[in-house]
Amino acid sequence: MDDLELLRDLGRELEHEPPASLTRQRGRLLEASRPRGRGGRVRWRMLGAVAAVTAAAILLPMLAFHDRRTEPAAGTSAPAAAGPLNVLVIGSDARRDGYPTRADTLMLVHVPAGRKNVRVVSIPRDSLVTLADCANPRGKGVPVGPVPIGSAFTQGGAACTLKTVERLTRVRIDQTAVIGFGGFRRMVDALGGVEMTLPAPVADPAAGLRLPAGTQVLDGRQALAYVRARRGLGDGSDLSRIERQQMFMAALARRMRAHQRDNRLLFGRFLAAAAVSVETVPRLDVGGLRALADTFARTGADDVEFRTVPVRPAAADPSRLVWDAEAAERLFAPFRE
């Protein structure tokens, strides 16, 4: 046997037959081939997508709103819900408007009743899990075996992701927030960009990103590329990407707080962008965000702690991750208060 024959044999061994779920991809194609306009709302909801970074979308407006030294917003003086709150933030990696793919980013945010010590835990999207028993929008069942948690979003949207995370963590989730790339860019741009200090220059031609080292203001497009890039940065893993996302969120929070004090106009623009860019369930409009934000009177950006679920490479597939169950249990225990 020559080398090509051996290679063909290896290929045959590695091959998988197309699963029934491949018809879903056909559905995507048909969806794309139909005239636009009809059901745009539905598409957006499904696309749902978001960038990890978007914890920003829901968490940061709350933080930014907390400053009571400025005039209190009329009619919202009574905080609606001051109890503990768990928010699941989903960012998607949809590359074109309208096509749902996997959740690119997953974060679980816990806001205790006292609004101090807000915890944000990133869940690596490559974590192998068994999905909750949820049907996808087209009524098909979900795969049985372990799959990357990011695929829960593809299978059954935000609802399936929520059920899966709830079952894994035994944390009850009060609110989900889904944001797409476009929305993320708009929010960053509405803030006039976000100031970051990069320890080293960054070049990821695939993401169209080239940044010098040092302090600079990233616009929406650059910020999105920076938080998504896997190449040319750190060790190229999802975990180093999560670190960058968390650093970026901290920078975003600082920027928001500064604007909230000094530039009400810009800040208002940011809130408007957030309200239309983030799909929340149950639905929160600007008023709802404001009411929720009012419960954060004493929370500062420094009261937010960022963590990541402890993981190790999966034995079966080193490009996937499995949770350290004990450490995860400790990490999520405060979420169940």
Binding site: Q25, Y99, A206
Partner: protein
């Protein structure tokens, strides 16, 4: 939606008719999605393959206006798009091959005796092959696998990747030389002149 049993339309005709009737493009999916899935599943595993097949057809759909109608067979075009999407997962792919160096491949070898014997040979050489694949530069790997796993002819590979046929040959030679070196490390008699 099945393809009519009568004389099948050429891909190029089908793509042309999809300009006026976009939903007709789904017939191309019915023709080639399984083939592409099998190919990508070899390189990246079944989960990523599903996404990539979906994205390949979405990308193809949005570029169908630019399809060269002189090319009746759309496979090289689709393989080319899929290859670009696979490239985004280069790390996953390399990790997959590296993992093969030590873990058994799923599923038993079945079939006629000669296939089983071939399977045994393949199993013995697998760690070296996997090592070689993991170490190949992406451009060479794409050519090698389009030939070995995609069953494309040289001119089709050239079309898929948008490179001259001569470049296909030189990349293929380079890739095969490295694979043979990796295999030859344990069996020098296999060395070719």
């Amino acid at each position: 939606m099945t393809v009519p049993p009568t004389a099948q339309e050429h891909d190029a005709d089908l793509i042309r008719s999809s300009l006026a009737d976009p939903e007709a493009f789904a017939a191309l999916f019915d023709r080639y999605s399984a083939m592409l899935f099998r190919y990508v599943s070899r390189r990246l595993g079944p989960e990523a393959a599903e996404d990539i097949v979906g994205e390949t057809f979405l990308a193809a759909f949005s570029r169908r206006h630019r399809y060269d109608a002189a090319q009746r067979d759309a496979r090289p075009w689709l393989f080319g798009i899929a290859t670009k999407l696979v490239a985004r997962h280069h790390r996953t792919e390399a990790a997959r091959y590296r993992a093969l160096r030590r873990s058994p491949v799923d599923g038993p070898v079945e079939g006629p005796a000669d296939r089983v014997a071939a399977g045994v040979t393949a199993a013995a050489s697998r760690p070296m092959l996997a090592e070689a694949l993991a170490g190949l530069p992406r451009r060479d790997l794409d050519v090698l696998l389009l030939v070995a796993w995609g069953d494309l002819a040289y001119d089709e590979v050239a079309r898929a990747l948008g490179i001259p046929v001569g470049t296909v040959r030189s990349r293929l030679n380079r890739a095969r030389r490295k694979v043979r070196e990796a295999l030859g490390g344990t069996d020098p008699t296999r060395e070719e002149a």
